[in-house]
């Protein structure tokens, strides 16, 4: 999970024990349990409104849980709020920078609020700003920054006081694909350069791949938790798509010869088999129908999400619990 060998003897960076949050009669988080190891990158994956932001807000002491408990860096998020706050860095979904201050002034304000030892402020500030390549823009007003630059600056600010756990709530939401990938390259670099546990939420499947482990959250519950690899393997079957001259005949032949239920998706005959690559030679030999092309794909996290929640993440968002989503939006304020 991490480059460090001595993980096991350390206390987990985050420990969550039947944590729940209720808003009136709405259960946003329904008793979840998990642990995040030290120096791990842990992702919360789920559609908007799944309870990710509520969970992260509870861990950051911004929202008081209605049940269960959570420890961050060994400190209780309710009873030892200040201890928790000193040990965490936060990057929220929406920007929390002061646009009328320069980048440097924003960071300096943060350093003062966190009571950083004075002599450490300047070198550390340069270090984090160089990491996100904003050092030469330090004197500019934040209002003149693009969305991606603001997000980078927020990541730098979140790191300024060397937190043990960095919380990133949808760090790339609302950014264009190019900026998203650059944000990820900073996060990857950060993992190399600093000893830090990263806890992030995302609803982008491809981003979950960067995590050491992910928890899939749906309707306030964790439905699966493992490494991306293990989760994909748990789905088991590969997806095989073939183009044929006569699709109904091919589907019938698959049923007859191999006992496989196939359907059409994306204009191709589609079915699942445990090891697709080994199946392809048999397919050509025994199907008895001309095949124009064949593609085999390993399960993606989309497939994982589908198999655990019975829906794709996009569908879950489209039809998802609106009330829940509004609540999430409200909490994000």
């Amino acid at each position: 999970m991490s480059s460090n060998g001595d993980l096991d003897v350390r206390a987990p960076a985050v420990l969550v024990d039947s944590l729940s949050k209720r808003y009136g009669d709405l259960e946003a988080v329904r008793g979840i349990d998990f642990e995040v190891l030290v120096n791990e990158t842990f992702g919360f994956l789920g559609p908007n409104g799944a309870g990710k932001t509520t969970t992260i807000s509870m861990l950051c002491t911004l929202v008081r849980p209605t049940g269960g408990r959570a420890l961050v860096g060994g400190h209780d998020v309710v009873g030892e709020r200040d201890e928790v706050r000193r040990n965490i860095g936060l990057v929220f979904q929406d920007t929390t920078l002061d646009g009328y201050l320069t980048a440097e002034q924003n960071l300096r304000l943060h350093a003062e609020l966190y009571g950083m030892p004075r002599e450490t402020v300047a070198p550390r500030m340069q270090q984090v700003m160089e990491m996100v390549q904003l050092w030469d823009r330090r004197g500019h007003l934040v209002n003149t920054f693009s969305g991606g630059m603001k997000r980078r600056l927020e990541i730098a600010r979140g790191l300024l006081h060397s937190p043990r756990v960095l919380f990133l709530d949808e760090p790339t939401v609302g950014l264009d694909p190019q900026t998203r990938s650059s944000i990820w390259s900073y996060i990857t670099k950060l993992k190399r350069e600093e000893e830090i546990t990263i806890f992030l939420t995302t609803h982008y499947m491809d981003e979950a791949e960067y995590c050491d482990r992910i928890a899939i959250m749906d309707q306030g519950k964790i439905v699966a938790l493992d490494t991306p690899q293990a989760l994909k393997e748990s789905v088991g079957a590969d997806r095989v798509q073939i183009h044929t001259g006569d699709d109904p005949a091919a589907i019938e032949a698959l049923q007859e010869r191999f006992g496989i239920q196939a359907g059409t998706a994306e204009g191709a005959v589609t079915f699942r088999v445990p090891s697709g690559e080994e199946f392809v030679p048999r397919l050509f030999a025994e199907l008895g129908q001309p095949i124009k092309s064949v593609s085999v794909s390993r399960p993606s996290l989309d497939d994982v999400f589908m198999s655990y929640t019975g829906t794709t993440i996009r569908d879950a968002e489209a039809s998802g619990n609106d009330r829940n989503r509004n609540m999430a939006r409200m909490m994000a304020r």
């Binding site: 480059s3 460090n4 060998g5 001595d6 350390r10 950051c60 002491t61 911004l62 929202v63 008081r64 009873g79 030892e80 709020r81 200040d82 201890e83 706050r85 000193r86 040990n87 936060l90 929220f92 929406d94 920007t95 929390t96 920078l97 002061d98 646009g99 009328y100 201050l101 002034q105 300096r108 304000l109 943060h110 003062e112 609020l113 966190y114 009571g115 950083m116 030892p117 002599e119 450490t120 550390r124 270090q127 300024l160 006081h161 060397s162 043990r164 350069e193 600093e194 000893e195 304020r333």
Partner: protein, 305 residues
């Protein structure tokens, strides 16, 4: 804030606080436990932020001077001919000057407090709220910042005293500046208290108009407070702003070379059942109200969520 951290002696120094075994390439920074020094630093930086923002906002500086200048030079000049009969030869502009000194401070202070509403809308409030410092430090820094900015604005109006026949006497200037600071602080505290509950800018602005304007008009900033009809006299004595305007006027009139009749007519002073309220007590009323509102503001912002 309900929870008090047990005092943990953490030296404020550069050290690697993490358990061994890390591959961190640089010295990590340890955030020290909460201390009085830490709180003072937080108050100072929140205060400083107000000043930085104000210095960037030239337009705000100009616009907030607009209203006092309109009252002083347009209204003061326009009404001077019909007012001449009652002012015993004193320029009407001189008479309204102390009221205008208050006005300049009030509106700027309200503006400063309004920025907390903006901060919430733009998310910056959250950056301050999750910091490991007391909320009271944040609120206090904000009020002191608002007070300083407003008092600076007041200084500009103070500087034009000569234009309305008020002499530049150092004692008077100090007195006025101190009163402006006090008033600005109390008004900011009021605004911050309101901003804890009123979360939208439009509502906040509406509230300001609803509260500040009547307070200003009733306070006697534009008229002498003696010989008023009973109902207005009662309202006037209940208006907190009365106790800022009156000492301000007293400070100005103490240094004017005018007839006794004019002094009596224009600076009668606030009375409680016939007793002339001393200036220091008046300032005390403003201070106590300001501190009470600050306390409410702190309590409101200290609640979780």
């Amino acid at each position: 804030m309900a929870h008090q951290t047990p005092t943990e002696a953490v030296p404020a120094s550069v050290s690697s606080p993490r358990p061994a075994g890390g591959q961190a390439q640089h010295a990590a920074v340890r955030v020290p436990a909460r201390s009085l020094r830490g709180e003072l630093r937080a108050i100072k930086i929140v205060w400083k932020r107000e000043l930085i923002r104000f210095s960037r906002d030239r337009l705000r500086m100009l616009t907030s001077l607009m209203q006092p200048f309109l009252f002083l030079f347009i209204l003061g000049t326009g009404l001077s001919s019909i007012a001449a009969a009652g002012t015993h030869g004193v320029n009407l502009r001189t008479f309204v000057y102390p009221g205008v000194l208050c006005m300049a401070v009030m509106f700027t202070a309200m503006f400063s407090a309004a920025s907390i509403v903006w901060d919430r809308e733009f998310g910056f409030l959250r950056e301050m709220m999750v910091a490991p410092v007391r909320r009271s430090s944040i609120v206090l820094g904000k009020c002191l910042g608002g007070a300083t900015v407003a008092a600076l604005q007041g200084v500009i109006v103070l500087a034009i005293a000569g234009l309305v026949d008020v002499p530049y006497v150092p004692v008077m200037i100090l007195e006025i500046f101190a009163l402006q600071l006090l008033l600005a602080f109390s008004i900011t505290a009021f605004g911050v208290m309101a901003a804890a509950r009123v979360k939208q800018m439009q509502s906040f602005m509406a509230l300001t108009q609803m509260v500040i304007l009547p307070m200003f008009f009733i306070s006697g900033a534009m008229f002498p407070v003696s010989g008023l009809p009973q109902w207005l006299a009662v309202l006037n004595r209940l208006d907190p702003l009365t106790y800022a305007v009156d000492p301000m006027r007293r400070a100005v009139f103490a240094h004017l070379n005018i007839s006794e009749a004019a002094r009596k007519a224009l600076d009668p002073g606030v009375t409680w059942f016939g007793w002339r309220v001393p200036g220091l007590l008046e300032a005390g009323v403003v201070a106590v109200l300001g501190i009470a509102m600050l306390a409410i503001a702190i309590a409101e912002f200290s609640r979780v969520e």
